[in-house]
């Protein structure tokens, strides 16, 4: 059965033990990539492309409304960006099953419009291969 985004939880932890909700989150995405390395000589005809797998990479990206009182969630993300500390990120797409990885937060943004909410978005880049949470 398909799952609904409203059931998704985005959580962070500084110790990979106790996880806290990142409040106010509207969207989250997970991008798992692996570098594609080519081993085919140039200018060959009639030969299929040959490639092999490089290193794993990727990130979590999340956005929503800024809540300055969310000390263990949004503020922890900002702190991780400020001091370069490792932040453990866990995203459970149906509230139970999902992914987690140790991350570095290389970017977070706040955008404010006079007639809207203060938007908060951030990206956590994997520093390890993400694992499935079941």
């Amino acid at each position: 059965m398909p799952t609904s985004g409203i059931t998704t939880t985005v959580e962070v932890s500084t110790d990979d033990s106790t996880y806290y909700d990142v409040d106010g989150t509207d969207t989250v995405s997970e991008d798992r990539t692996r570098m594609k390395l080519m081993s085919t000589d140039f200018a060959q005809s009639g030969v299929a492309e040959n490639s092999f797998a490089g290193l794993s990479s990727g990130n979590f990206q999340a956005s929503g409304a800024w809540e300055g009182s969310d000390t263990n969630g949004q503020v922890a993300v900002r702190t991780a960006q400020s001091d370069g500390s490792t932040l453990y990120v866990r995203v459970l797409y149906d509230g139970t099953i999902g992914s987690k990885a140790a991350c570095k937060v290389f970017s977070c943004q706040k955008n404010s419009t006079v007639d809207g909410r203060v938007e908060f978005s951030w990206t956590g880049d994997f520093i390890e291969i993400p694992t499935d949470v079941t």
Partner: protein, 144 residues
């Protein structure tokens, strides 16, 4: 918390109750009424003039945010009707404008924002009791 947790009509009424707006002392239950049943009827003549009526108008669907608390952003439309004395267009307009100025961007406890949806009140109609009715609509946002 799924909510809705706030009652914007009651909260607007409480915000106005006891205030003097446009030279009019507003008292809930006297010249401040919830709903608009009496607004367009001849029974309106029995109420003081000018008079203000507050009515809810639905708003947009709750916007959920992720998380175990299942929180939502609620956005409700609140209608504020200013009703004049008989044949007093100007008095009604001035009262309606004062109400709009009082409520627009007002800092109301438990609400994120209160914003007028028009820059001036709308002359809604003249009721069967020859009283002019002016409408201002407010967008009211809160998080729960």
């Amino acid at each position: 918390m799924p909510g809705p947790t706030q009652n914007p009509i009651e909260d607007f009424a409480d915000e106005l109750d006891g205030e003097t707006v446009g030279g009019v002392a507003i008292v809930k239950g006297t010249n401040l009424r919830l709903g608009r049943v009496l607004l367009l009827e001849r029974g309106s003549l029995a109420l003081p003039s000018p008079c203000v009526f507050i009515n809810a108008e639905g708003g947009t669907p709750p916007r959920g945010v992720m998380g175990t608390a299942r929180e939502n952003d609620f956005s409700t439309m609140v209608e504020v009707y200013a009703r004049s004395a008989r044949h007093d267009y100007e008095g009604g307009l001035n009262f309606a404008r004062a109400l709009l100025a009082f409520l627009h961007h007002r800092d109301v406890t438990n609400y994120v924002s209160v914003r007028a949806m028009q820059s001036e009140p709308i002359h809604d109609d003249e009721n069967s009791a020859d009283q002019h009715v002016f409408l201002s609509t407010f967008r009211v946002d809160y998080h729960a």
